[in-house]
Amino acid sequence: MIQLFTRDVVLSVRSGGGFGLALVFFLILVVLMPFALGPDQSVLAKIAPGLLWLGALLACLLSSDRIFGMDYEDGTLELLATSPLPLESVYLAKAAAHWFTTGLPLSLAAPVFGILLNLNLEVGGVLCLSLLLGTPALSLIGSFGATLTLGVRRGGLLLSLLVLPLYIPTLIFGALTVNAAALGKELDGSLIPILAITLGAIAILPFFSAMALRANLQ
């Protein structure tokens, strides 16, 4: 399982992989937002937390259809299915690789990009923490969606549609946490729902993703 994880990460970082994609997309979003919304610092500071969370979410979504796609197309996935590794582990390894190359860099980059949106660094810290806890959930959910849309033409579009409502709770709690911090409120446990969603996703999604993979590999 570690091997699968490492392999996916390496593949992703090489050209043709998805590593830079999410970060670049996130950067583009952050840079373009002031042009769309006006340079007013106070406005930007107010909406920055939510926008940054949303940007991270979209960046994660964009790279999700690549999680299983290439392996499915060249038959690697079938090989993996016949290996002693259970499908649940295949799913987890791939979701972890996706997070490592998408969610993790995004979480770390977010406070830095946030400077462009007049986000002060304390709030940036909360943003980073909330993203670190929440992006795994996004990767897990995105990977789950990917198992459903394997082999579908224009699968990316369908994937986005399926995953969109599933993302909403994570986004709600993530943005809520950072917005509260921006208003100077205490954190007092608002990171817990985010963590709970991630842990819940780890608990239930592997089982269902394995089912979906099995259905697709018949």
Partner: protein
């Protein structure tokens, strides 16, 4: 005594419905009656509510929208429930009737959700001054709509019937978990930074002290909408069962 006896026979009968032939036979027999009942209840409920109930002091005649909004919302949620149950039965027992019932229920539920959203928005305009408000209830229905669309879209995207039955069922089950989660998240989100709940239209009306003037036609409308759902569900499920048999026959023909 008769209900006890009835219940004793109900469940074995219910499981028998998993057999396509039995399902087709019974649904075919019951359908005309159910259609008649639907027209009766829905018609009576709506006519009663529209013509024969007074206006509300605060909301004027818009209160009449309640006979559309509440039943459709109620059925929209229950439709999802049917979808999830059918999906569960498919995954556990591999009986096609279950998943085809789930498949048939989705577009109906989706329509009900749209009705709930539209009537909610139209009702909200004069009350709140805007067509759309991100209040917990309407937002939850918007999310429910997204779940429905995803499910229907997945069915449409894949040809292999057994494969797509598995995938959509998995989607429905995971979706159910997240739908429940969303319901609470949205309440939290709406209150979020501003203490104090927003009062939704439905809250104002669903107080326990709705007089029976409003409640009886409302109840009748709800039953009517429920029967409408059942009617369309049976029609749809019968169609899907036939379509599956058709696919088998046409597949056999191609082999010759």
């Amino acid at each position: 005594m008769s209900t006890k006896l009835g219940m004793k026979h109900f469940w074995p009968f219910f499981w028998k419905l998993a057999n396509p032939k039995v399902f087709m036979r019974w649904s075919g027999l019951c359908l005309p009656w159910i259609i008649a009942l639907t027209v009766l209840c829905l018609g009576t409920g709506l006519i009663w509510g529209f013509f024969l109930t007074p206006d509300d002091a605060r909301q004027g005649s818009t209160v009449k929208i309640i006979y559309l909004h509440v039943p459709s919302a109620f059925i929209a949620i229950n439709g999802y429930f049917v979808m999830v149950l059918g999906s569960l039965f498919w995954l556990v027992r591999r009986q096609h009737v279950s998943v085809l019932v789930a498949k048939a229920s989705a577009p109906i539920g989706m329509t009900m959700t749209v009705i709930a959203l539209t009537t909610g928005a139209i009702w909200g305009q004069p009350i709140w001054g805007t067509y759309w408000v991100w209040d917990p209830r309407l937002t939850s229905f918007l999310i429910l709509f997204l779940f429905y669309i995803g499910y229907v879209a997945l069915w449409a995207a894949i040809d292999d019937q057994d494969k797509v039955a598995d995938l959509t069922s998995v989607l429905a089950l995971v979706g159910a978990v997240f739908a429940i989660l969303s319901r609470y998240a949205v309440i939290f989100w709406n209150q979020g930074l501003h203490q104090g709940t927003t009062v939704t239209i439905a809250d104002g009306v669903s107080q326990k002290n709705i007089s029976s003037i409003f409640f009886q036609p409302l109840l009748l409308s709800m039953i009517g909408f429920g029967l409408l759902f059942l009617t369309l569900l049976l029609i749809g499920a019968r169609t899907e069962i036939r379509a599956q048999r058709l696919q088998v026959l046409e597949g056999l023909e191609r082999l010759k």
